[in-house]
C-alpha cells in the first residue's frame, strides 16, 4: 500500500521535498517506512533516531501503519 510521509526541517531539506509517497506491505510498521525513506534519501542514512508521528501524535517505531495513515519523521524539536 502507498502511504504519505511528511518530512520536516532538516529532513525536508535532505529529501528536497516536504512529502514522499512510499510503497510498503500491509501491516508494516513506522520503522519499516523509515527504512524505506532512508533507502530513497541518501542524506538521511546517517540518521539513527528520528522522531516519529502517526496521525499527528508521537508514535513508536513498532507501531503498525494503517491504510490512509499520515506518517511524519523529523529531527529533535527546537520551538519556543
Amino acid at each position: 500500500m502507498i502511504v504519505r510521509v511528511l518530512l520536516f526541517a532538516r529532513y525536508q531539506e535532505a529529501a528536497g521535498s516536504p512529502e514522499l509517497r512510499v510503497d510498503i506491505p500491509e501491516g508494516a510498521t513506522l520503522g519499516t517506512v523509515w527504512e524505506e525513506v532512508r533507502r530513497r534519501v541518501p542524506r538521511l542514512r546517517e540518521e539513527e533516531a528520528p522522531l516519529m508521528a502517526l496521525d499527528r501524535a508521537y508514535a513508536r517505531a513498532d507501531t503498525t501503519v494503517p491504510a490512509e495513515g499520515e506518517v511524519a519523521f523529523f529531527p529533535p524539536v527546537s520551538g519556543g
Binding site: 520536516f8 533516531a49 522522531l51 511524519a72 524539536v77 520551538g79 519556543g80
Partner: protein, 157 residues
C-alpha cells in the same frame, strides 16, 4: 473545574500578547501570567540576525492542546492560550506567547512555566538560525530522542 485551552494557534502573522491575555482573563480569575519568547541576537557564541521557524502545524496545535490539558490536571481551573509564530523573524520579534489565567497568582505562574517548558520539549517546531557565521538548524538538546529512541517524547500521544 478543569482546564480550558482557550486559544491555540500556529501562525505566520505577528503575535499579539494582549489577545492571548484577554482570552484567558475573566471575572473569576485574579491572575494572568504571560511569557513571551523573543528572537535574540546571539546563540551559542554566534551572532544571530534572523530565525526562520517551521512547524508541523496541525500536530503542533494538537500538542498544545494536550499540554494545556496536562496543565489543567496539575493546576486546577487554569486557562491557557498559546500562540507560536512561524516564518522569518527578525531579532526582537516575538516567536511564542503563552498566557495562563487562574484564580490565584501561583497557579498562573506555575502553569505558564510548565506549558513553555513542555512546548520546547514536544511541539514539532524548528528554528533555522541565520547569522554572521552561516546558517544553522537548531535541534533540541536530544531530550526527545533520549527519552525514547523509538520516538515518543513526554507523555503526549
Amino acid at each position: 473545574m478543569s482546564v480550558s485551552m482557550i486559544l491555540c494557534r500556529v501562525t505566520s502573522d505577528p503575535l499579539d500578547p494582549r489577545a492571548a491575555e484577554a482570552a484567558v482573563g475573566d471575572r473569576t480569575r485574579g491572575a494572568v501570567a504571560t511569557f513571551q519568547g523573543v528572537v535574540r541576537d546571539h546563540h551559542a557564541g554566534r551572532r544571530v540576525t534572523r530565525i526562520e521557524y517551521s512547524a508541523y502545524a496541525p500536530m503542533a496545535e494538537e500538542v498544545f492542546r494536550a499540554i494545556a490539558a496536562e496543565a489543567g490536571g496539575r493546576f486546577g481551573g487554569v486557562a491557557i492560550a498559546v500562540l507560536h509564530r512561524i516564518g522569518g523573524l527578525q531579532v526582537g520579534e516575538v516567536s511564542l506567547v503563552v498566557a495562563a489565567g487562574s484564580v490565584h497568582r501561583r497557579e498562573a505562574h506555575e502553569a505558564c512555566s510548565f506549558v513553555v517548558d513542555a512546548i520546547k520539549k514536544r511541539a514539532p517546531i524548528w528554528k533555522k538560525e541565520f547569522g554572521d557565521d552561516g546558517v544553522f538548524w537548531i535541534e533540541g538538546p536530544g531530550e526527545c530522542a533520549a527519552l525514547d529512541p523509538a520516538g515518543r517524547p513526554g507523555r503526549d500521544g
